[in-house]
Amino acid sequence: MNIREWTLPVYTILTQLATGALFMLWVIRTLSNFKYGREEVDRIIKIPILIILVTVIAGITGAHFHLSRPYLSFLALRNFHSSWLSRELVFNLGFIFSVGCLWSLLWFVNGHHKLKTVLGWVAILFGFTTDYCMSRVYLLPSQPAWNSPLTTVSFLVTMLLLGVMTVPVLLIMDLKFSKSQQQENQSIRIRIIQGSFDWLAVIAVVMAIVIAVVNFFQISSLRAGNEAAQTSLDLLLELYQPLLIIRYALLFVGVGWLGFAVVLSHSRRKATEELMGPVFIACLLVLIAEILGRFLFFAIHVRIGI
């Protein structure tokens, strides 16, 4: 895969990461609203939402480098009725727009909590739909390595896993910043982070296992497939075998590292903002693992026919 082709993993991973992070953040917001008050929680998630917005914009910008003529990319929108790619782009633009509106509301408008809540869920819906359309783009009969519902499932699981791993990084980063600015609501930030650490870690472990299981079924289906599928399987298990091993090693080490951060958090041997290192490393390892996974996804495709 040439460098130019790497823009595809960039785009897909960043979009899934942004959707997953927004989803997890919104779940945390919903759970925390009752305990700590909407105003406080909305103040805390402002900067993470901005980073999510930047991420999704960076993703779609990166996707343009995949095109030979990036300035004509808008033409892809014309085939909404027949093309999953066109739908993916439309929903992705909707996702960006809704996240942008959500961020504007959070930063510049007080109150309107219901509107913010609804807009957040709408953005998440756009994100999920984008992710679904994105997976459907690859369900091509000519590409046996991709043409399976497992592709959709794996995209969804990756989205959730990256969201779970990214949200602690965003919240702790924001906590450190708020401490440096001596803002008042640090105790609430800390309680929100500590309160969500446990279940985020559990979800991460479950998602990692699901990824392994899905991958196992993908390999099984390739093994039972046609010649092209066999070729893809050979590529995966021979040429790219070291990368496959590295991918799963990093995935489970990363998830384990998040568990280590949870243990540190419970033992109170470190202040919450000092958990930035373990949480960052955990997120980095899982991110590398998932990018490797996406690289393998693109690398093993073997076209049937011309």
Partner: protein
């Protein structure tokens, strides 16, 4: 080429050695903590360069293979050590708050680059090539950039501290590391992947994994400059030469920049010297201030003692004490309160604030809990500054301003509390232990003044008793004896009458008449003495004049009173009493012994070096006496003692047949002191004579 690698290794080895030696010297500069990583980087980088040198020299294949393996270890290790050093020096100075978001922003690019790097290891390219490339991209490049930025931040800091010479070296080191980042971290060997596959596109244009032609693209055309061959073509010098140059630059500036430790030590030494000089000056100034303060206090204490010994009016002494205590303590208020007959009732006696210092005329009961508690406590009270404001409420009597600090001392007489002296400030300047000690000294003076007042009162009482004893003695010696004598004479007269001795009878009657006349004179003099009191409203001088006039009428002596006093006498009350007693004694002597026809009394005020004094002269034209014989005279001795008791003098001048002059002098007290107040004992009996 061997020489280039040799010098390259030498430069980095020197850098490592310099950093190691500097670290051994030790310093409290934070930069010192990171020198171990710089030293390690220098040594390992030097070793890597010398491995290159040995590999260039040509040798057996096994030897080269072993060196190649060693290089695959040392090169990433070099990058790792530089990365660690760069990261540490970058964070050596506090980073701006926005940098907290850098990890979040960089996490995705870092993940992508690492992932991409990982994929290149499965290509057909020899393993040492991706190790070389990714060591440079992932470790050396960010490490050198961070080290460069770290040194630039040090440059900025040193510049602000005024160490321009060291700052410039830091700037050089920062720029040298950035140059190193470009030359060593960004210019990599040609390879079929990564950025290298693009900026070396004219030589490597195939897919690294599949071998397919990827097509020519000029996407990063400018990066052709990062090609080894292009640099050789343009500059005429190989990349190794530029790397050696960069190594020399880094080593030169960093080693020279390590002079920051010496400069810092010198600066600290200079600062310490300045600090010591300032401390010495401050101590000297403090000594002067303390001495001046002590002198002021001593002066005031001496002045108080002088006033006490001069038997000055107690109220004026107390006012003097509170006013001076306030001024010397820089207090806004000083109050003095005394217990009344009711031991639980504390009444304000006098106070001083910035506007006035006065005795309190109508009773003001002090009910401030803090003062009452201190009155019962053993130790004096000094506010610490942590008290709630309510605690110091009403401590400044008569002013609206709240007190921020106070010192309270209780007054003790015979181990019994008799009152309290306190000082208060409304400004934020707490009382020190020294302040409290001085306030206690003032309290002691208050007690001494009161004690002296009591003693003076007792002395006056004793004077009255003494006067009564004198009158009794006079009556016993004079009137009683005359009456006894007359009783005998009456019996004699009766006998003579019965015997019919007319002549003897007449002689006895004549003697009786003389005895009665003498007794009458004594009695009249005593009556006159008793009538002459100082309490009379006319004043002492008028009283003396009247007394002398009556004395002349009664005794039948010509009297002359000369009053040369202008204004007030300014004598203490005790001195006035003693003056009158001396005058009476002297006139009694004139009547009894002098046989004078004239007596002259002169009173005048004179000024000498020591101050003003009152001169009293009693002169007669009597028979006189020998002064030497008179020294055993009880009357004269008493008069002298009376004069001495008020620091006065008494002199007797007498010539036989000419007359006698008694001259006594009494020192005046300052008019200003006399004006203040009235005797504490003269009002309402608040402190009564035991």
């Amino acid at each position: 080429m061997m020489l280039i690698f040799f010098f390259n290794g030498l430069a980095f080895g020197g850098l490592g050695l310099a950093a190691y030696l500097q670290r051994r010297q030790g310093s409290d500069l934070p930069l010192n903590k990171h020198l171990k990583w710089l030293a390690a980087f220098g040594f390992v980088c030097g070793v890597t360069s010398w491995i290159d040198m040995f590999m260039t020299s040509g040798s057996t294949e096994e030897y080269l293979h072993a060196l190649g393996i060693l290089r695959m270890v040392t090169q990433p290790l070099t990058g790792l050590l530089l990365l660690k050093f760069g990261w540490d020096i970058l964070r050596d100075l506090p980073l701006p708050a926005w940098t907290f978001f850098i990890p979040g922003v960089l996490i995705v690019p870092i993940a992508y680059v690492i992932t991409y790097a990982a994929t290149t290891f499965i290509t057909t390219s020899p393993i040492e090539v991706p190790i070389d490339i990714w060591s440079r991209y992932l470790l050396y490049l960010p490490g050198a950039i961070m080290a460069g930025i770290g040194f630039l931040r040090q440059w900025n800091m040193q510049r602000k501290l005024g160490l321009s010479d060291v700052a410039n070296l830091m700037l050089g080191a920062g720029l040298a590391f950035l140059f190193e980042a470009f030359i060593v971290g960004l210019v990599v060997p040609a390879a079929p992947y990564g950025p290298a596959s693009y900026y070396n596109y004219d030589r490597v244009v195939y897919n690294a994994f599949t071998g397919e032609q990827a097509g020519v693209t000029g996407f990063f055309g400018l990066t052709a400059w990062l090609d080894y061959e292009r640099i050789l073509k343009v500059t005429g010098l190989p990349i190794s030469f530029w790397r050696m140059l960069s190594a020399f630059a880094v080593t030169f500036f960093v080693v020279r920049g390590l002079g920051v430790f010496e400069a810092t030590r010198n600066r600290q030494l200079k600062a310490l010297q300045e600090e010591r000089a300032q401390a010495q000056k401050a101590a000297f100034d403090a000594q002067i201030v303390a001495r001046q303060t002590a002198e002021k206090w001593t002066e005031v204490l001496v002045s108080i003692n002088r006033r006490i010994t001069e038997l000055e009016d107690v109220d004026s002494i107390l006012l003097y004490i509170v006013e001076n205590a306030r001024k010397l303590l820089l207090a806004d208020f000083v109050g003095l309160a005394l217990l009344t007959d009711d031991p639980s009732c504390l009444e304000l006696k006098c106070f001083s604030n910035e506007d006035t210092a006065e005795m309190v005329q109508s009773p003001v009961v002090v009910e401030t809990p803090l003062i009452l508690e201190t009155l019962q406590a053993v130790h004096s009270y000094r506010s610490s500054g942590d008290e709630p404001p309510a605690m110091l409420e009403n401590i400044i009597v008569g002013l609206e301003r709240p007190a921020s600090g106070a010192g309270i001392v209780r007054l003790e007489l015979d181990n019994r509390p008799i009152g309290a002296l306190w000082a208060a400030r409304s400004v934020e300047m707490p009382f020190t232990e020294t302040d409290l000690i001085w306030l206690e000294c003032m309290a002691d003076q208050v007690v001494i003044a009161i004690q002296h007042g009591l003693m003076t009162s007792q002395l006056q009482s004793l004077s009255i008793t003494e006067e009564r004893a004198r009158i009794a003695r006079e009556m016993h010696d004079g009137l009683a004896q005359v009456l006894g004598y007359l009783n005998l004479q009456v019996q004699t007269l009766e006998a003579l009458f019965k015997q019919g001795k007319q002549e003897a009878l007449h002689a006895e009657l004549e003697q009786m008449r003389e005895a009665i006349r003498v007794a009458n004179a004594d009695v009249r003099e005593n009556i006159l003495s008793l009538r002459t009191t100082l309490a009379n409203e006319k004043g002492l001088v008028s009283a003396i004049g009247e007394y002398l006039e009556e004395f002349g009428i009664q005794i039948g002596i010509e009297t002359c009173f000369v009053d040369n006093v202008e204004g007030e006498l300014n004598l203490s009350s005790v001195a006035e009493v003693q003056l009158v007693c001396i005058l009476q004694e002297a006139l009694a002597n004139v009547r009894k012994h002098a046989r004078a026809s004239q007596v002259r009394v002169l009173i005048k005020k004179m000024t000498q070096k020591e101050g003003e004094y009152i001169n009293l002269q009693i002169s007669d034209n009597g028979i006189g006496f020998t002064v030497r014989d008179s020294k055993r005279s009880f009357g004269l001795k008493t008069m002298r003692e009376r004069a001495n008791s008020t620091r006065g003098t008494l002199e007797v001048h007498s010539v036989l047949g000419t007359g006698t002059t008694i001259e006594c002098r009494f020192p005046c007290i300052e008019a200003e002191q006399l004006k203040k107040g009235q005797a504490i004992f003269s009002r309402e009996g608040r402190l009564s004579v035991p």
